[in-house]
Structures are given as C-alpha cells and as structure tokens.
C-alpha cells in the first residue's frame, strides 16, 4: 500500500473464521471426522441425508464451543437454536446446512491482539456451531463433478469478528493469535493449508474522518496467513483505485487467486442470499447451564497471551523470545520445565530457539517428537554455566543428545569430553607449546602481537579442544609478559 493511500483512506476489515473441531465423530452423526480417507467411506444415514434419518448433537462439539467462547470473553448463551440454511449444491445432500442463526451459542467477546506498536482489542460478534459441507471436484474436460461426503457433517465453529481491523497486518495478527488460542484449547489443529482453519474477509475503505462504512467486499479462499495479508493488500489497492477513478465499489464476493496475485469476482451460486433460515425442527434447543460453564471454565488452560505475559514478567524475556516460546503450548511447557531444572531463562530461551528449533527444522520434526528432554537440555546449559564444558563442546554434545536422546553427562563420560580447567595441567600444556615454538615466540617478542592467537590455538589443539580457553588465555598472558 502506498503511503498516501493509507493517510487519505481508512481501511475497515472484519474476518469470518471457520475452525474445524477435533471431535472424533461428526457434529450430528456417528461417522468419523478423519481426513485423507477414500471418498465416501465416512458416511452414515444422517451424513448422506437419507430420508428418515435424524441428527443428534455431539456433546463434545458443544464443550469445544463453550471453551472457545470463554477463552474469547464471550457471553455463553443459556439457550441457543440450530437453524437450517438452505441452498442447493451437490455437496449438501439435505439441501440445507444445519447452522445457528439468530440464537448462536456465543456472543460479544473479544481478543486482545499484539500488534506492531502495542495491543489492540478486536471485538468478536458471535461464535456459532455448524456442520461442514462435502467436497466437490471438477474434472477438466468432463461434463461432471464428483462429490465426496466424508467432510460433510464435520463440526465447525464460525468465529465472526467486528470490523475492528484497520490494516492487513492487524488482520494477520488477529488470525495468527486466534489460531494460537484454538491450538492451546486443543479444539482445532489449525492447519490452514488442509482447510481445518479457513478465513473469509470483509473489507471496505472510507475517506479518513468518514464514520459511515464503505461498501464491503467479501474475499474468500484465504488459506494461509500470507494469503490473508496479500489478498487484503491487493483488494485495498483495488478499492482505492476504483474510488479515485470514480467507479463505484460493488458489494460482491471475490476469490483470491494466489498464482495471479489478484482477487476476481466469484460466479455466485444463484440467489445465494436467499437462505430461508428457520429453526431446525429435528433438533431441540441447546440449553447450557451455569454448572456446565463453570466446569468448562475451571478446565481452561493458561492461554497464549497469559503465557506471553508471564514469560515477559517472571523470566524477563525479550518480546521476541516471548512470542516464539508462547506460540505453541508444547514449546511453552517444555521451556517452563527446562527453566524449573536450571534457572537460566535467557540461556534456555536461546538454546531452544536457535539450536533446538534449528535441528527440528532441519529434520522436519515437530516439537512432539523432540528427543531431548527439558531436563537434559537444562543440565547441558548448567554444565556450560558451571564451566564443566565450553560453549563449543556443548554444541557437539547437543548434537549427540539430539541423535541419541542420551543425557549430557552420559555423553561427556562416554567420550571423555570434560573441559580441562585444572591450572597445573594447563600450565604444563602451555609450557610445552611455548618451548616448541621458538620462532613464533621471537616474532611475538619483536612486536607481532597477533601471534597470541596462534599460541591459544596450539594449546586448544593439543588438548583436543578440551582446555578451558579462559584459563589458557590468562596463563599465556602471564607467561608472555615475563
């Protein structure tokens, strides 16, 4: 976005996020929700929309909705209603999607998002439960489409934000931090590429100072964080150019085309807005009592924003480290455990974010399969801190720990890697190097002080890298002065 366009126009963005829930079975039916199975092998009479079948609500999907509602400061509605949303499309066998309309389960929440210069509270209008549709595939050159109903009936939470975001970066930050909350709550796997987390954006622009909202355009197909930001940047540019040219902005749905870096108007399903919502007579009202809410509240984990704050305050970590270490629950827990073993929060943060993440990345491994226990990482750092080993040795031992899962002490013992810090032993080593280096010694005394490094190197080499470099330096300084 060019600088002048940001100052002349204000951008207004609201996001609708669909999160696939990690239940085992579907929201109203008994078949499995796993992905990647042969088409139409995860079906049952309800999923297929067979006549006479009746939906029955999966209690766990309600638990998940309450969890998210509480985590996002929503009011949990004591009574909510499922409604039929009608449209005719082959991926929807019943001819309607079961959703919630005027009585959703959660209302009026917020998420405080960290942005570039501080934090911003983004309002959550509502969260509702609904079922996913099936999947259509269109074969090229054939007059047919294929329908797979495995995904039909998988529970979704739709999270609708207020139009509170003012830039693509804010929208990206909201999306990332909402995803973290979903992951911390263990209710969604957050995988945008595979579609378990989807995002549609409503975006409009208005001249600065204007209070009325501009005509909004809905942008779909934003299946990565990068797409969310790029598509919004493009769409804002397009709208600003249109307004400047005097072309009116049409209220429409546009699809983000990543390859072409552009948004294109979507060929809409005919009369898509005529959904004819009405309460689904097959489903009873959902009533949530205080006890259910209290029980769910007491089982909520510490949330990412709380972990971030705690790391910042109690460990005095840089925001940079707080951000990375709080991002995933497993990482945050690992970090806490390591610090509990050895209280050097900064060194541990550093080792996790550089060495450990570097190695996990290289091996394409997730934190869950990390072979180094927090206790072992902490004791490695303790060995550096009490000067049993040098930093360089620690890195070699770390590699060994990663490959074998052994403790640093076992590796040090097995390989005789302990640092030599005994002054008498080191002095003998220094003396023998100096006595073998008459020419270099002469050069040093003639003013080539750079030779100092040469002597350190020779001592380190002679000790197989085990000599404590600090003591070697002190000894050499003393001897060369003499």
């Amino acid at each position: 976005m060019s600088a002048d366009s940001t100052s002349e126009f204000e951008v207004v963005i609201g996001l609708e996020v669909h999160a696939q829930l990690l239940t085992d079975s579907k929201i109203f039916a008994r078949s499995s929700t796993v992905s990647g199975k042969t088409a139409n092998t995860l079906t049952d009479p309800v999923t297929l929309g067979l006549p006479g079948s009746l939906p029955v609500l999966n209690k766990r999907s309600v638990d998940f909705a309450i969890r998210l509602g509480l985590a996002l400061q929503c009011s949990i509605e004591r009574t909510s209603i499922f409604a039929r949303k009608h449209y005719l499309y082959p991926d929807l066998p019943k001819g309607y999607q079961i959703s919630q309309y005027d009585k959703p389960i959660c209302l009026n929440g917020s998420l405080v998002v960290r942005i570039k210069d501080g934090t911003k509270k983004i309002g959550i209008t509502r969260i509702h439960l609904e079922e996913d549709a099936g999947k259509n595939t269109h074969l090229s050159d054939e007059p047919y489409s294929l329908v797979d109903l495995n995904r039909a009936g998988v529970p979704l939470l739709e999270i609708v934000s207020e139009p509170d975001m003012r830039s693509p970066e804010e929208a990206g930050a909201y999306m990332r931090q909402l995803r973290q909350v979903l992951l911390y709550l263990d209710i969604c796997d957050g995988n945008m590429e595979e579609g378990s987390l989807r995002c549609d954006a409503n975006v409009s622009i208005r001249r600065r100072g204007e209070t009325k909202l501009g005509t909004k355009v809905e942008v779909k197909n934003l299946n990565s964080f990068r797409f969310v930001e790029r598509a919004l940047e493009y769409e804002i540019e397009r709208q600003i150019a249109a307004v400047r040219e005097g072309t009116p902005i049409v209220q429409e749905t546009r699809l983000w085309d990543e390859a072409a870096c552009t948004t294109l108007p979507m060929r809409s399903k005919e009369h898509a807005e005529d959904y004819r919502y009405f309460p689904d007579p097959d489903l009873l009202p959902l009533v949530v009592d205080d006890d259910w809410i209290a029980r769910t509240k007491s089982s909520l984990p510490e949330l990412p924003a709380q972990v971030y704050e705690r790391f910042r305050k109690s460990y005095e970590l840089d925001p940079y480290y707080c951000e990375i270490l709080a991002e995933e629950k497993a990482v945050a827990r690992y970090y806490d455990e390591a610090v509990a073993f050895h209280n050097n929060p900064i060194a541990i943060a550093n080792w996790i974010t550089t060495e450990l993440f570097g190695r996990l990345n290289k091996e394409s491994m997730a934190m869950s399969s990390n072979p180094i226990s927090p206790e072992n990482l902490a004791s490695l750092i303790l060995l550096v801190d009490n000067k049993t080993i040098s930093g360089k040795m620690a890195k070699a031992i770390f590699d060994e720990m990663f490959s074998t899962g052994s403790s640093p002490r076992d590796i040090i013992e097995a390989q005789g890697l302990k640092q030599i810090s005994d002054p008498a032993e080191l002095e003998a080593l220094v003396d023998s190097i100096l006595s073998q280096s008459a020419a270099q010694l002469q050069a040093y005394r003639d003013g080539k002080t750079k030779m100092f490094g040469y002597f350190v190197g020779q001592v380190m080499k002679a000790s197989d890298g085990k000599a404590n470099p600090q003591i070697v330096n002190e000894l050499l300084e003393r001897k060369l002065k003499a």
Partner: protein
Amino acid sequence: MTLTDKEVLHVARLAQLELSEEDLPRMQGEINEILNHVERLQKVSSLGVVPTLHVHGEINAFRDDIIRDSIPLEKIEMNAPDFRACCFRVPRII
C-alpha cells in the same frame, strides 16, 4: 403484502419447482392469501409471550462423541443414480 409474478417465480426457483405460465396466476393467488393470513396474525399482540423454540418443549438431546461403522460403499452406490471413483457423479457445477 403481495408477491409480484416475478417474486413468485423466484420463490419457485429457490424451491426447485417448475411453474408453468398457466399455473402462475393460481399460485400467486394462493401464496398471497397465505401471506395475508400471516399479516393478520402479525397484528395480534405477542407481548410477553415466550417464543416457542420447539413444539416438544424438551431440551438437550445429545450423543457422545463415539464413532460407529460407516455405510459400506457398495450400499451407498446402490442408492446413487451415478457413482464413479467412489464419488457421486453429478452434472458439472462450475
């Protein structure tokens, strides 16, 4: 409230109903009669009446999150007019 010819045809299309030229005036009359009746009902004061959320008056029918066997593909195929590559085949939609 009355619906125009065009609106009646639109409703018919949403309901996937074929409506012939001859049927249109009759249908329009019937629909408008129903709408007029609803209009009369809307004049009745419902102040203080709790909305009927469900005719039973019951709440909360749940199932536990337990997977049960899926319908075998052969059986699904038996009910499908056109089934290829484990998928329902339908006229191309885009």
